[in-house]
């Protein structure tokens, strides 16, 4: 064999070995995904708040040592968009439960998988959780695409997911129920508030991510019912030219109109700050925003010019002005176990708390073995549960669609903090999806 052929065959052999090596690594690679088991930050000593974290479990101070109950969560985490705070907070809650008796002595183990909005990856993640990690329930999913991609898979296997929804399928399918309202119904709430202030025109601007048509249909229905003209706009994100966006919105709305935004907090902030720099914030009657704007961080960044000028729909109970037991427990758990929750007090961690609460409540009602069937039957049976984080009691139930949180607050910035502008208000049934849900769910959908 000549030298050249020798080299070629060596090349081929090496290539072969490299390929097989990688495949072997894949095949033999361990199944464990990042499971979040946050350490208690204060080593068990009770925090200064009036509520002890031991309230989260049934046997205060007794660590759970039985066979773990595996649960799974999928969350988007890519440059610019990160929802990991939500499952991380759920994990913090579960850590608290595990330190205080667990579920009948069994600790909960939450497998958290992150994804970068890649459909193939999201589908694979679901299979990983089921086939490799053998999870018996799904709680804490927060993803731009996951509900769309995986809902048939969950339906086929009988998983009833408790999530924080974004995609349409999180609210329109039988196997997903969210603790939040999602972009469409939250935008409904913001538009509803604007209409109640008797504006003459609505400009609804949202980020151009999947589902804009579905989201826009809600505000459109509300505006048309009130005979108020509505302009629907979308912006490519990340926004590179906020000035033109702000000018366009203000020009279209006019002095007696309202501009309602549906963006993630950073993008909404950029638009509002551009409007302020251009001197446009007083050129419309009011500004509205869906729930993502509901953070103290936004209130601080915006400054006093926006006091009672911007009205944000809040899907969850405002933490700053509430001091119920649940809220205090939330703050205590966040402080003691929530080191992985980077956003601190805010709607993201509130959602994680609520979802974990619901799951714990469901698990505690399971008698016998913790299987996919038994756990998900218990989840479905959750009825009128008071999470302390939303206006209504939370119900799963056996319905073809779920919008269990359909009642909201409106908040407004006031010198760096968000304060309540309007208390719990039902989202209008003029939105056909809300109407459809209330007709199947009956009184469970309404009762606060």
């Amino acid at each position: 064999m000549s030298m050249r052929e020798h080299i070629r065959s060596v090349r081929a052999a090496v290539g072969l070995v490299a390929v097989i090596g990688m495949l072997a690594a894949a095949g033999c690679s361990s199944s464990s995904t990042t499971s979040s088991a946050p350490k208690s930050t204060s080593g068990g000593t009770p925090s200064a708040s009036a509520v002890s974290t031991s309230q989260c479990g049934t046997k205060p101070g007794v660590a759970a040592t039985g066979t773990p109950i595996p649960l799974g969560a999928i969350a988007t985490n890519q440059p610019g968009t990160s929802f990991t705070d939500i499952p991380n907070m759920a994990a913090a809650y579960f850590a608290c439960v595990n330190a205080n008796g667990g579920i009948n002595g069994h600790p909960i183990k939450l497998y958290i998988v992150t994804e970068q909005t890649n459909p193939a990856q999201i589908a694979a993640d679901a299979k990983q959780l089921v086939q490799t990690d053998h999870v018996v329930g799904i709680v804490g999913n927060t993803s731009i695409l996951e509900c769309t991609i995986d809902h048939t898979y969950w339906e086929k296997l009988g998983y009833f997911v408790v999530d924080s929804g974004i995609a349409p399928e999180c609210y329109s399918t039988s196997n997903s129920a969210a603790v939040n309202m999602g972009p469409r119904y939250s935008s409904d709430g913001a538009v509803q508030y604007a209409l109640a202030q008797h504006v003459s025109k609505i400009v609804f601007d949202q980020s151009n991510v999947p589902g804009t048509g579905y989201i826009a249909a809600g505000p459109a229905a509300l505006a048309n019912n009130a005979h108020v003209p509505i302009t629907q706009l979308t912006e490519n994100v990340p926004i590179s030219d906020a000035n033109s966006v702000a000018i366009k919105e203000v020009d279209d709305a006019g002095p007696n109109g309202a501009v309602v935004l549906n963006f993630t907090p950073p993008e909404a902030l950029i638009i509002l700050q551009a409007a302020q720099k251009l001197g446009l914030e007083d050129r419309v009657k009011l500004w509205g925003c869906s729930t993502p704007c509901n953070t103290d961080f936004l209130a601080t960044s915006l400054g006093p010019k926006w006091n009672h000028k911007l009205f944000v729909n809040a899907e969850l109970t405002p933490p700053d002005t509430t001091s119920t037991q649940s809220m205090k427990l939330y703050e205590a758990i966040l402080k003691q176990y929530g080191s992985a929750v980077s956003g601190g007090i805010g709607s993201f961690s509130q959602m994680g708390f609520a979802e974990a609460e619901i799951m714990t409540h469901a698990l505690e009602s399971v008698t016998g073995a913790y299987t996919v069937a038994s756990v998900n039957a218990a989840i479905k049976a959750v009825q009128g549960f008071n999470t302390g984080m939303v206006c209504q009691g939370w119900t799963y139930g056996s319905y073809p669609m779920h919008i269990p949180n359909n009642m909201d607050y409106t908040v407004t910035p006031d010198n760096g903090k968000m304060v309540t502008a309007q208390g719990c208000t039902l989202i209008s049934a003029v939105d056909p999806q809300i109407k459809a849900y209330r007709s199947v769910a009956g009184t469970a959908a309404m009762a606060p």
Binding site: N77, Q78, P79, G80, T81, S82, F83, T84, D85, I86, N208, T234, N236, P238, I239, S240, D241, A242, N243, S244, I247, K248, D251, P265, P266, L269, I270, Q273, K277, L278, G279, L280, P292, T295, F297, L298, S301, S342, G343, G346, S347, F348
Partner: protein, 299 residues
């Protein structure tokens, strides 16, 4: 069709946007003139510098310290890259040198997301004292920051043109862009001239980083890949003329914003830089754009 009234405010914002593109575009052409490298990492070094500045300001350092560190960081990284990879790739054609800077871009991009992780509800922002205050043009308020950015673009254009044409160092840079070997044999201290060019470009990248972080957004992805839109302006000028780059950037900014009130085109306006560059390169090039450094042309 919207009326003149509707277009008016967009002229102002369009000029501001053009100034944004001009900063990066001019910076890249300057370096290409001197070293034959299209510095595609221009946005990334500026972005990372801005993030470092943000971290310092967040840790209660005074604003000017942060911005100074940003410029210094960008200058240092650019200089280091130029000194390490410049000679290694000096004999390769401009395409290879440009692709190599993409490698630097990816490294910085990954580092930025690692070190400044995305948090759920929060975002970072840089504010400059020139943000508060400005003056009114028509119905629109113009901030001093926007004025500075546009003015800086003009100043840099003028200064660089004068520098390259009239000073000894500038002439040396132009000679090197033409043919590095011959310039070296003529006794020009090639490595020092190159270092000066890289350093100058790095300083520009740092300045652009601070201004863009304020004018656009302090977001790694946005700032890193904003350079693709600025590149359009540089391409319209065939990477040759700094003045045309500046003018092209202004035109791109104006057209982009003026399309905003036109309903049917508004959603596509982000494609303005790319479409204009494509038209300029494809439709207007009759001889097939030749690479500037003819001694290094390969297929």
């Amino acid at each position: 069709m919207p009326s003149w009234q509707d277009f008016e405010p967009f002229i102002v914002s369009g000029l501001a946007l053009g100034g944004v593109y001009a900063l990066s575009g001019v910076g890249m052409v300057v370096l290409y003139q001197a070293t034959g490298v299209v510095y595609l990492a221009f946005g990334a070094v500026g972005a990372m510098g801005a993030l470092i500045a943000w971290s310092l300001i967040n840790a209660h350092a005074p604003g000017w310290v942060g911005w100074l560190v940003c410029v210094a960081f960008a200058a240092l990284v650019t200089l280091a890259y130029g000194m390490v990879f410049g000679p290694a790739l000096a004999k390769r054609d401009p395409l290879v040198k440009a692709v190599a800077t993409l490698g630097l871009t990816l490294v910085l991009f990954g580092l930025m997301d690692l070190l400044w992780t995305t948090s759920g509800g929060q975002s970072r922002a840089i504010t400059l004292p020139t943000d508060n205050g400005g003056f009114m043009i028509g119905q629109i308020q113009v901030t001093w920051t926007q004025v500075i950015s546009l003015a800086l673009g003009i100043v840099i254009t003028v200064v660089t043109v004068v520098f390259l044409r009239l000073t000894k160092l500038g002439t040396a840079m132009r000679a090197m862009a033409n043919d590095r070997e011959i310039t070296a044999t003529l006794g020009v201290p090639v490595r020092r001239v190159e270092a000066a060019a890289w350093l100058g470009c790095g300083i520009l990248a740092g300045l652009a980083g601070v201004l863009l972080a304020d004018l656009v957004a302090l977001d790694a992805t946005t700032l890193t890949f904003l350079v693709i839109s600025s590149l359009a302006a540089a391409l319209i000028a065939r990477l040759r003329s700094i003045t045309i780059t500046f003018a092209a950037a202004i035109v791109i900014g104006l057209v982009h914003d003026l399309l905003t009130p036109i309903q049917s085109l508004s959603n596509y306006r982000d494609a303005t830089p790319f479409v204009l560059a494509a038209i300029a390169l494809l439709a207007l090039s009759s001889g097939g754009g030749q690479v500037l450094t003819r001694s290094r042309e390969e297929a």
